[in-house]
């Protein structure tokens, strides 16, 4: 039995950037929760240590992406970043209730795009407000209170976004394979990312779709 054919999805640089950023996010979310939520603070204690880890991980957070983006090795990541940043007509078809199955999505679906845009932007905002909180003596009290306000609410947004991202990834093991090993089963690409499949292979993706009833065939495409 031959293994099912696969399509390359994320190169080593992209996966390294993803997993190191994800690790830092995880550390930041848990140490952040320990600094913020009374019951966890009590459980963990060691406030000074937790704070040091949180600040250290926070300062490192932008590095994996920045390193992954520069130079020759960052080509695939740069291309994907461009794809993630834009909604096209297929995304609008996907977002429209009822026509989702007709969308001939490119490499990413709109949810992935929004998630990436939010988390990427959150890195910048959390870093900025985090710097105010860490080096507080340089800022006025109003600024500090405002920065706390932003840091708290965006942190809640990050928890929602990251938990949602993990949940959806676990529900779609084929997609998860792409980020774990670099490639996805070709039938997954054909079915869920037909636009991307066609661009990568040069073959039409339609033939895998269930045959449509003969008379209505002209309308959908």
């Amino acid at each position: 039995m031959t293994p099912p054919p696969e399509l390359a999805r994320f190169d080593r640089v992209e996966r390294a950037a993803h997993w190191s950023t994800a690790t830092l996010f995880g550390v930041l979310m848990f140490t952040g929760a320990a600094l913020y939520a009374g019951p966890i603070s009590t459980l963990v204690g060691q406030r000074e240590v937790v704070r040091t880890i949180h600040v250290g991980a926070g300062l490192l957070l932008p590095l994996p992406l920045l390193v992954g983006l520069v130079g020759r090795w960052g080509r695939a990541l740069r291309v994907d970043l461009r794809r993630l940043g834009r909604f096209d007509d297929e995304d609008r078809v996907w977002l429209h209730r009822g026509t989702r199955d007709d969308a001939r999505l490119g490499k990413f679906n709109p949810g992935q795009k929004l998630n990436a845009a939010f988390l990427g932007s959150a890195i910048v905002v959390m870093l900025g407000t985090g710097i105010v909180l860490k080096w507080f003596s340089l800022f006025s009290l109003t600024t500090r209170t405002g920065a706390t306000f932003v840091h708290d609410w965006v942190a809640l947004g990050i928890w929602v976004s990251v938990l949602g991202h993990i949940m959806l990834a676990l529900r779609d093991p084929d997609a998860l394979r792409g980020m774990l090993y670099g490639a996805v089963p070709i039938r997954w690409a054909r079915l869920h990312r037909p636009g991307w499949y066609e661009a990568e292979t040069g073959e039409p993706a339609t033939r895998l779709k269930p045959p449509e009833p003969a008379p209505a065939a002209t309308e959908g495409a």
Partner: protein, 252 residues
């Protein structure tokens, strides 16, 4: 394992190249969040105040306690040492010393036997958060001072926490106010160790950093000695709304 590499892209770019209109959603999200961040830094202080006055009381009634995770009208547990101090009521001792007629050591039972005072006031932190209408109970500090007898040359009171690091102080006149407590109950329950139990100071008219947690020693001195945060820039007279360049509504 056979993989289709995307080597030959020249001829085939059917759907991705023929896209008609694109929206730069990523840029919008980025600018939007950056805008929220900037606006939040400028106006967050007032928005937080509004939320705490208007939404805080509603959240406080949430029976599940889950809404307590929202950053509105909730206590944040600040401790300057690495471990949360923990001492049982039975092991607790409160020492009153310094310029007093008789050095006095009180057990928790001694405190509990003294006249009990209830106070319901907002708790305002100098970093901005405020918890509305917290119900405190305990002994008036002035009653504790009178048990030891304050000598006339004493001008100030210094407090030491059993966390081993934190200190605070008040003038004797401030310490004698009727809204200054040695508190051992909060919201009708025994004061938990994260909130400073078994007993802490509660100084209603001043910012939270004045209300020293894990109270162990009360020492009468001639002059006020700046406490832990005051050596790091906070005002010694920490009146809510009239110190630390802040303009919060008074809490007493």
């Amino acid at each position: 394992m056979k993989r289709h590499r995307s080597a030959d892209r020249t001829g085939v770019q059917p759907s991705e190249a023929s896209v008609t209109s694109e929206t730069a959603v990523g840029r919008r999200v980025f600018l939007g969040l950056l805008g929220f961040g900037a606006a939040g830094i400028v106006f967050g202080s007032s928005v937080q105040g509004w939320l705490e006055r208007n939404v805080g009381p509603v959240l406080a009634k949430d029976p599940t306690g889950l809404l307590a995770l929202l950053p509105i009208g909730r206590f944040r547990i600040y401790s300057v040492t690495s471990n949360l101090p923990d001492r049982s009521r039975s092991a607790y001792r409160l020492t009153v010393s310094g310029l007093v007629d008789r050095k006095t050591v009180l057990t928790f039972a001694d405190l509990a036997a003294m006249p009990k005072t209830h106070l319901a006031r907002d708790f305002q932190c100098v970093t901005g958060w405020r918890v509305p209408g917290v119900r405190w109970a305990g002994v008036r500090l002035r009653d504790v001072l009178d048990r030891a007898g304050v000598r006339p040359e004493a001008g100030a009171v210094r407090f030491v926490s059993f966390d081993g690091t934190y200190t605070e102080s008040l003038t004797v006149a401030q310490a004698r106010r009727s809204d200054v407590l040695v508190a051992y109950e909060m919201e009708g329950e025994a004061l938990s160790s994260e909130h400073g139990g078994p007993a802490r100071l509660y100084i209603a008219p001043m910012y939270g950093y004045k209300s020293l947690k894990w109270l162990e020693t009360i020492e009468l001195t001639r002059q006020v000695e700046p406490g832990y945060w005051e050596q790091r820039g906070y005002d010694v007279n920490g009146w809510v709304g009239h110190s630390n360049h802040r303009s919060d509504d008074p809490t007493a």
